[in-house]
């Protein structure tokens, strides 16, 4: 094999591809089939139009650079951030937002902790509430209006991907987001985090 592979380009391409795809078939590919089973058992509900728009804002602003949404099942983590994620919680999370850095706190269950007013104030000026905070200020979010057609497109795309939105829900969505700012949407999204999956004794300290 050594002989042919160092002499034939086709042999090289074929063997390398096969070796590489081995890992794909063992642990990446099976993941594609989790979804249907998970949908059966999940308590997660699809986001409302405003929450979904807020999730898009969360993605666009790069919040994942500093905030995880993955509570590991370790005692100190449960104490600090609440109920750990289960696989079925994230079944409607098209683009998972677990992130890999906790420069800021985990947000998996943040919807159970603060009020809408707190979030708005905190987004506009985090240092006014937590003086040691190194979070950027996001005042412009509350000046810019949502693009209604984009929100509808997002819902339609989610429906295509298997999120159980009804056509009426999508039709009605424009009235729900009309005139709202990006900040309003982001606050609605944050307030929704952890609410559906809430369990007894799983609240934040």
């Amino acid at each position: 094999m050594e002989e042919s592979i160092s002499k034939s380009v086709m042999a090289f391409i074929t063997i390398t591809t096969v070796v590489v795809l081995f890992s794909f078939f063992v642990w990446v590919f099976p993941g594609f089939f989790f979804t249907n089973d998970l949908k059966e058992i999940t308590t997660a509900k699809p986001y409302t139009a405003l929450e979904l728009a807020g999730r898009d804002v969360y993605m666009a602003e790069g919040c994942v650079a500093c905030h995880t949404q993955m509570v590991r099942n370790l005692e100190p983590e449960r104490k600090r951030y609440g109920r750990p994620n289960k696989m079925e919680d994230d079944v409607y999370e098209f683009n998972f937002l677990w992130s890999s850095q906790r420069t800021g706190p985990d947000l998996t269950n943040i919807g159970l902790k603060y009020t809408e007013g707190w979030h708005k104030q905190h987004l506009i000026n985090p240092q006014a509430i937590v003086p040691a905070s190194i979070m950027p200020q996001y005042p412009w979010l509350f000046e810019k209006k949502l693009n209604v057609s984009h929100v509808i497109a997002s819902m339609k795309a989610m429906k295509k991907l298997g999120v159980p939105y009804t056509d009426t829900q999508i039709e009605n969505s424009s009235s729900k987001v009309e005139g709202k700012t990006k900040g309003d949407a982001l606050v609605a999204y944050l307030m929704s985090l952890g609410v559906d999956t809430r369990e007894k004794g799983g609240d934040l300290n």
């Binding site: 380009v9 642990w27 990446v28």
Partner: protein
């Protein structure tokens, strides 16, 4: 015979340096923002959430990809003793890549991002990158197929491996349905998406940031020290080890998460196994690099290669360690990970790039290097910079991890989140200072190389006697 190849390589190398300096400056900005949040300027386009992906993408797709594409095409042509298969396509690849990157970075600043790490570009950019990557593959393998030598030179194995693996994984990880222009949703959700993402994320490191440079080193180090590769057998072990194990190791990014634990454990085992080919490769490169004692004593460019190998050995030791559950519990989500990445990125990738630039750019322009003294200055700056960076984040990051998990005797949390933030403050500054010193060294290099290129042409009188 190689006029076009040389011209093309010059273009790629210069682009790599420019993107490298831009990307590092963005990294410095990000580091400073973590120390002084006022530097976010409450601005929509340059706050940390935008700067961080701009930094990683400018480095990975700007510095690293330009370096790998440019040099692997040069090496494949030279070692195959033929011209590249298509001149037109090779220039399409060059300009296409730069334009795509500029549009991609602007789109991230505007908020069009998939948020998946090192795959932030949205679907139109992804399509462009896949087309360009296929072009790269066609030129590379096309050239290799018409080679005049019997065997495929070892550098080309690594470059070929990079092309195949990155092409496949980039494509699969970015499968998305378009929502509107520059916005798409991944076709995978939750845990499935996480698995696909870290299959990509870890291989972006393993192939773009590792195998590509291992390949170019097998060409440039023997040239520089004027000695053959120490062991062909070890290079084989490195190659099959990287190809065989690397693609399995990605799930160590998902330990203790909600993905099934058997998948997590595959990542742990394979990450530890990866230690073998990594150190086999490091040993081989080290022995090659130190085989010419005279060069080793006098030539600071050799020192850069040596230290890049040392950092490679360090990072590939630390990596398997961090994949072990017990360490991962502390390291996960902390700045220790950032420190680890940069001992690889600044230490291994950075020093390799620097050494290659110092050796190869004078050769490409047929000039003598302007100043070896300045190379020594750069050597000192780069190393103090990296040390400041890594040590700061070892202390800051490990402290962050331990404090986050610490419980009092009564079972409550010992430290609040704000306590941990305050603890990390000096180390965030230390890291930024390290990054600044590294960039200063890069600027010394840029000056040195510009002066080299501007020097009057060496007078070569062929057949004068």
């Amino acid at each position: 015979m190689y006029e076009n190849e040389e011209k093309l390589t010059k273009a790629f190398v210069i682009a790599a340096i420019i993107w490298g300096v831009i990307g590092m400056c963005m990294g410095l900005m990000a580091a400073l923002q973590l120390y002084l949040p006022q530097l976010n300027f409450a601005n929509e386009y340059i706050n940390f959430g935008k700067i961080r992906p701009l930094h990683t993408n400018a480095i990975i797709f700007g510095l690293v990809c330009n370096f790998i594409i440019g040099l692997s095409l040069y090496i494949v042509a030279k070692t195959s003793v033929v011209n590249l298969v298509s001149k037109g396509l090779s220039w399409f690849l060059f300009w296409g890549w730069q334009i795509t990157l500029v549009i991609g970075l602007i789109s991230i600043a505007l908020g069009y991002t998939s948020t998946k790490e090192y795959a932030e570009f949205e679907w139109p950019i992804d399509i462009a990158i896949v087309v360009l990557w296929l072009t790269f593959g066609y030129i590379f393998f096309g050239t290799l197929a018409k080679r005049k030598t019997k065997h495929i030179f070892v550098s080309n194995w690594f470059s070929g491996g990079v092309i195949i693996v990155i092409g496949l994984i980039y494509l699969i990880n970015n499968l998305a349905i378009p929502v509107y222009a520059f916005k798409g949703y991944s076709i995978f959700s939750g845990a499935s998406d996480a698995l696909v993402q870290w299959w990509w994320g870890h291989n972006a490191v393993g192939f773009l940031l590792t195998a590509g440079f291992v390949g170019t080193n097998y060409y440039f180090i023997p040239k520089l020290v004027n000695r053959p590769i120490y062991s062909y057998r070890l290079s084989l072990i490195t190659f099959w080890g990287l190809i065989g194990f690397y693609t399995w190791a990605g799930t160590h990014h998902l330990l203790f998460t909600s993905v099934p634990s058997w998948i997590q454990n595959i990542g742990v085992v394979m990450s530890i196994l990866l230690w073998i080919p990594s150190w086999a490769g490091a040993f081989n490169a080290w022995m090659t690099c130190t085989s010419n004692k005279e060069e080793l004593k006098t030539n600071p460019v050799v020192w850069f290669f040596l230290s890049s190998i040392a950092y490679y050995a360090l990072a590939t030791f630390e990596g398997p360690l961090m994949a072990i559950r017990w360490f991962n519990m502390i390291a996960h989500n902390t700045s220790w990970v950032i420190g680890h990445v940069h001992s690889g990125a600044l230490g291994w990738v950075g020093m390799t790039c620097i050494a290659t630039f110092y050796y190869f750019i004078p050769k490409l322009y047929k000039k003598e290097l302007y100043s070896y003294g300045l190379v020594k200055v750069h050597f000192v700056l780069a190393h103090i910079g990296v040390l400041f960076y890594i040590v700061s984040l070892w202390i800051g990051g490990i402290g962050q991890g331990v404090k986050s998990l610490s419980l009092t005797e009564s079972g409550s949390l010992t430290y609040s989140f704000v306590d941990i933030l305050r603890f990390m403050e000096p180390y965030m500054l230390g890291r930024a200072i390290g990054g600044a010193l590294f960039i200063l060294g890069m600027l010394v290099m840029v000056y040195n190389l510009i002066m080299t290129v501007k020097k009057p042409q060496k007078v070569v009188i062929e057949g004068a006697y």
